[in-house]
Symmetry: C2
Subunit: 421 residues, 2 copies
C-alpha cells in the first residue's frame, strides 16, 4: 500500500510546525506556498520601520525543512480546495491528497471598503513592509521639498488604523523615527513636529490584554507624542485625507492594521465559515464532516475559552499546526483524534524603546522589564543562529546609536510609475 | 557677498566624497540624488546572489552627511543641465549653481539593442540586484516544477554577458549557489547540474588586470564548472534563447554585465562626449570652456596613462570626487585648479570561495591570499561600523555553513503581473 499523501497549504507558523511534526510520520508530505520563505511575522513591523532587513526575519522554507526526506516543497499558487475529490487546485495544476492541513492565514479586512486598500496598506508580507517603509521615509523627503505649509503638515501626519499589537507597534515606531532617527537629518523641516495618530474603534488598545496593560500602553504612546483616538471609527479615506468620525485629517500616510479577512481559499470549500471567513473547526481542528481535513493557524475559527475566540498569534498557530499534524498521524494509525488544548504562555506587545506590556500567566509587566522580556522572547523564538545574531546585533546597535540600520527607499521608480498609472 | 552655491549631482562614490571634501569650504553645498542612499557598489553582486541584504551595503545620504552644516540633501530627479544659465533642471523645479560637480555615473550599454534590456537585466541599483536575485532563485523553483526535460534544462542555464569584474563575480556566485547553497534543497532537480556560461567578446577576462591574472580567473571559474566563452559576442536575445555567435543556447536567465552607457544627463549639456557618452574633461576634471563645472566618477572620460582611459572603479571615483571638490575650493579662493593624479592602490576581483585575483602595485596574488585581501579591503572600505560588522558576520557565517543568508524571492506578485501585462 502506498504511503498516504499529506498536503500542507501555507509555510507560516502553523504550516511550518505541522511539517516538522510530520518528519517521522509514515506519509509523503508536500508543503505548498506562494512564497519561498517562512516569515517571522511578529517582527515584520521592524522591517516596515527600517530597523531590520527582510532577510533578518525570513528563511527559505526549503532550507528550514531540508532534513526531511519524506517532504517536498512546492512554490505554487493554490486557487481552490476541492473537498469532494480530495484535491488542491493550483494556478498551474493540481495535487491530490489523503490528508490536508490548511494553514493559509488571513489578511486585513477593510470592512467593505476595499477601495481603501491602495490608500492604506496593511502589513502582512515583506513586500507590504517595504512598501510601508518607503511611504514613511518618502513622506519626510517630500515634506523637506514642499513649500506649502499645509501640504507639508499633511506629509508629516501619519495615521495608523487599528489598536492591536501591530497598530501600537507601528505607531510607536513611527514616532521614534520622527523624534530620534531623523531628528537631525533635515534642513527645512523639523521631523519631531510630525503627528502620529492611532485610531481604534473599540474602547481600548490591545483588547486581548488586561485593561491595566492597555492603559500602560496608552500612557507610553502619549509619552512618545502619539495621539490616540479610542472609540473612533475611520469613515472615509481619500488621497491625502482620512475621515475619523466627523473629523477630516489631512494625512498623506495611512497604514491599516485593523480587521481580519480570511484567505479566499476558505470560500472555495463550501463549509461553514465565521463572519471573517475563517473555517469553523471541531475541537480536533478538523473540518466538520471531513475528518481528513484540518485547519490550523489564523484561518481556523475555534472558540475554547469562555466564548472568546483564540487570538491570531504565533503561539496559537504553532500549537495548532503541531496538533493538526498529530491528528493526521493518529488518523493514519487508525487512532481517534485529540482535541486542541491551548497552552497560554503569555502575551507581549512592544510600544517602543524601553517600553512594552507583558501578560505572563497573570503576571503583568510594563516598561523596561516588559521590553526586555519582549526582546528576549523574540530573539529566542527566531529560527536559526544567523537570524538571531543579526537581529540581536541590530537591536543593540540601534539602542546605542538611535539610528535605524535599514533606512532605504527602494522601488521609488515603480512607486512613481504606479502613481502615473 | 553671499557664499557661492556648489551643486553636486549624484550620491555615489564621487559625489559623496566630493561633498565630504567640501565640509569646511566657504560655500553652500547641495547634493542631489534620485535615491536616498549611497550604495557600496563593489558588493552589489552579493545582494544579487543572496549573500547580503540591501541595507548591509547602503546608507542614507542624509545620515552620512549629517555633520555638515553647510550642506543640504535633495531627493530629486535631475533631467537636464543648463550650462549657459548655470542651472540644474529637476523633474519638479530647478537649482541655480555657481559651481557644479557632476557625478551621475553610468549604466550598461546594450550596443544598440535596447530591446535586450528587459530580457537581460544589468546590475547597477539595489532594485536591479533584487530583480536578479529573484530571477536566479525562481529559475530553480520553476525547474523543480517543470516536467519537460528541455524546458527544465533551459531554466537551469544561466548566461552572464561580460567578462569584467561584475560578470566574473556573478558567474562565480551563481555556480556556488547551484553547487553548494541549493545542492540539497530540491527533490526533482539536481541543482549541481546547472550550467553557467560566461560570455566575453574580447580575448580575455578582466581586461584591466595583467594577463597572468586573467588566466588565473579563467582557471578558477573552470574549477567552479563555469563555461567561459572568450572572443564570442552575443548576437541576439529572445525570451528563453541567447544567440552567441552562431550558437543558440536555451537559457531562461541572462544577466548583462557588459558595456558602458553614460547617464543621459551628459547629452543635455552640449559638450564633447566620448563614444559611450561620457564627458571628455580637462586634466583638472573641468569641462572645456566651463571652469565652474567638474565631472567626477564613471561619467568623466579622462585618459592619463599611455592612452588607457581610467577604469570605472570606486577608487578612481573617490579620488576624482575629492579633486573636483578641491578645485572648487581653489576656484572660490581665486587659485588655479590642480590636475587630477590617479594613485593606483591596486585592483581586485573575486571569483568565489577562497578564490580571487589581486594586482597590488605589480604584486600579483591569486587564490586564498587574494581572496583574503579582497575581503579585508572591502570590509575596511565599507562606511560605518554597523555595515562592516554585518557584512563581516554574514561572510564568516556563509563561509562556515555554505548557506546564503538572503535567499528570498520577493515581489513575485509584481513580477507575475508584469508577465501578464
Amino acid at each position: 500500500m502506498p504511503r498516504p499523501h499529506v498536503v500542507i497549504i501555507g509555510g507560516g507558523f502553523a504550516g511550518l510546525y505541522a511539517a516538522q511534526a510530520l518528519a517521522e510520520a509514515p506519509a509523503r508530505v508536500t508543503i505548498v506556498d506562494r512564497r519561498n520563505h517562512h516569515l517571522f511575522q511578529p517582527l515584520l513591523y521592524q522591517v516596515a520601520t527600517a530597523v531590520l532587513s527582510p532577510a533578518d526575519i525570513a528563511q527559505p522554507i526549503r532550507s528550514l525543512l531540508r532534513g526531511q526526506p519524506n517532504l517536498e516543497v512546492e512554490l505554487a499558487d493554490v486557487t481552490a480546495i476541492d473537498l469532494a475529490n480530495r484535491r488542491v487546485v493550483l494556478a498551474d495544476g493540481q495535487i491530490a491528497y489523503d490528508y490536508l492541513i490548511l494553514a493559509a492565514g488571513v489578511s486585513h479586512a477593510y470592512f467593505g471598503h476595499d477601495e481603501w486598500r491602495p490608500l492604506a496598506p496593511g502589513l502582512k508580507s515583506l513586500e507590504d513592509a517595504l512598501d510601508i517603509r518607503r511611504r514613511i521615509l518618502l513622506a519626510f523627503e517630500r515634506a523637506e521639498r514642499e513649500t506649502d505649509p499645509a501640504r507639508r503638515q499633511a506629509l508629516m501626519t501619519f495615521v495608523v488604523v487599528g489598536g492591536g499589537p501591530t497598530g501600537v507597534e507601528l505607531a510607536g515606531a513611527i514616532a521614534e523615527i520622527a523624534h530620534h532617527s531623523l531628528a537631525k537629518d533635515f534642513d527645512r523641516i523639523d521631523p519631531t513636529t510630525a503627528r502620529v495618530i492611532l485610531v481604534e474603534a473599540g474602547p481600548r488598545l490591545l483588547v486581548t490584554f488586561p485593561e491595566k496593560l492597555s492603559q500602560a500602553a496608552l500612557d507610553d504612546l502619549r509619552r512618545l507624542s502619539v495621539e490616540t483616538r479610542l472609540g473612533a471609527a475611520v469613515t472615509g479615506i481619500e488621497p491625502g485625507i482620512v475621515h475619523i468620525e466627523n473629523d477630516a485629517i489631512a494625512a498623506e500616510t495611512v497604514l491599516w492594521a485593523a480587521g481580519v479577512a480570511a484567505s479566499p481559499l476558505s470560500k472555495t470549500m463550501g463549509v461553514e465559515l465565521d463572519r471573517a471567513g475563517r473555517v469553523i473547526v471541531e475541537r480536533t481542528l478538523s473540518v466538520p464532516g471531513h475528518p481528513e481535513v484540518f485547519v490550523a493557524g489564523d484561518l481556523a475559527a475555534l472558540t475554547i475559552r469562555r466564548g472568546q475566540p483564540l487570538p491570531g498569534t504565533a503561539p496559537v498557530a504553532i500549537q495548532e499546526g503541531r496538533r493538526a499534524a498529530q491528528n493526521v498521524i493518529h488518523a493514519i494509525a487508525g487512532l481517534p483524534p485529540l482535541p486542541f488544548v491551548y497552552r497560554d504562555r503569555g502575551n507581549l506587545a512592544t510600544i517602543g524603546r524601553n517600553s512594552a506590556v507583558a501578560d505572563i500567566r497573570g503576571l503583568k509587566l510594563t516598561g523596561f522589564v516588559a521590553w526586555l522580556a519582549w526582546a528576549v522572547v523574540h530573539i529566542f523564538n527566531l529560527i536559526g543562529f544567523h537570524n538571531r545574531f543579526l537581529v540581536a546585533f541590530q537591536w543593540v546597535w540601534g539602542y546605542l546609536t538611535f539610528k535605524r540600520g535599514a533606512r532605504l527607499i527602494t522601488n521609488e521608480v515603480d512607486a512613481e510609475t504606479k502613481l502615473i498609472e
